[in-house]
Assembly symmetry: C2
Homo-oligomer: 123 residues x 2
């Protein structure tokens, strides 16, 4: 899967957090408002990364409206799941990895994992 640069990541975070599709100008403003960075990027910069994200299949663009509007093509969670599966690979050592992973999580999370597993079983 495609890994993201810092700016690409920031843009995706904004898109994921937005209920509505956003324009490049929206994103430029939101990026400037982030932190105390006071970035103030050029709009063309934002458009470039949006085009790249679109090519990577991470965002979809509405070309019908005039300021084009962009939205994430899948949820942040689904994207992260994709990353997880990438990291796990098609390898056969998945179980060994999962065992170690679970060994490192908090008891709380272990409990919710168990709950999730149970709900899946019953389904």
């Amino acid at each position: 899967m495609a890994s993201l640069g810092d700016l690409e990541r920031s843009v995706m975070d904004l898109l994921w957090d937005s209920a509505e599709p956003l324009t490049a100008n929206d994103l430029r403003d939101d990026l400037a408002a982030l932190g105390t960075d006071a970035k103030e990027l050029a709009v063309t910069t934002v458009l470039t990364v949006l085009a790249r994200l679109e090519k990577k299949g991470l965002v979809e663009r509405e070309r019908t409206t005039r300021p084009h509007r962009y939205a994430a093509s899948s949820s942040r969670e689904d994207h992260t799941v994709g990353l997880l599966n990438d990291a796990l690979g098609t390898a056969q050592d998945r179980e060994a990895v999962l065992a170690r992973f679970i060994g490192g999580i908090s008891p709380d999370e272990a409990a919710s994992l168990r709950a999730i597993l149970d709900s899946v079983k019953s389904a």
Copy 2:
């Protein structure tokens, strides 16, 4: 964490699969033997990637022996766990991600996950 290029990845795979530390020449030969690629890289190429992997903290080098010998500094599984945690990030939506992830795994794997969780609980 550091992501790996194709050649770096191949080298790490060989080191992970080897019980013994390997020399650059060993690795060059092993790489050439991989698949039907018939790569036949220069040894300096292998040394360069080994130096980079060492800088990334992924391999350790024995400088005492004359052909230096290289070994992975952590197991493949531990490395993958690191990748998983990177992918999960420090985000707050870990549970949502894990829920989706588990929804996508095979029943077999769900069963072994449950077993792993149970063994952790009892520990």
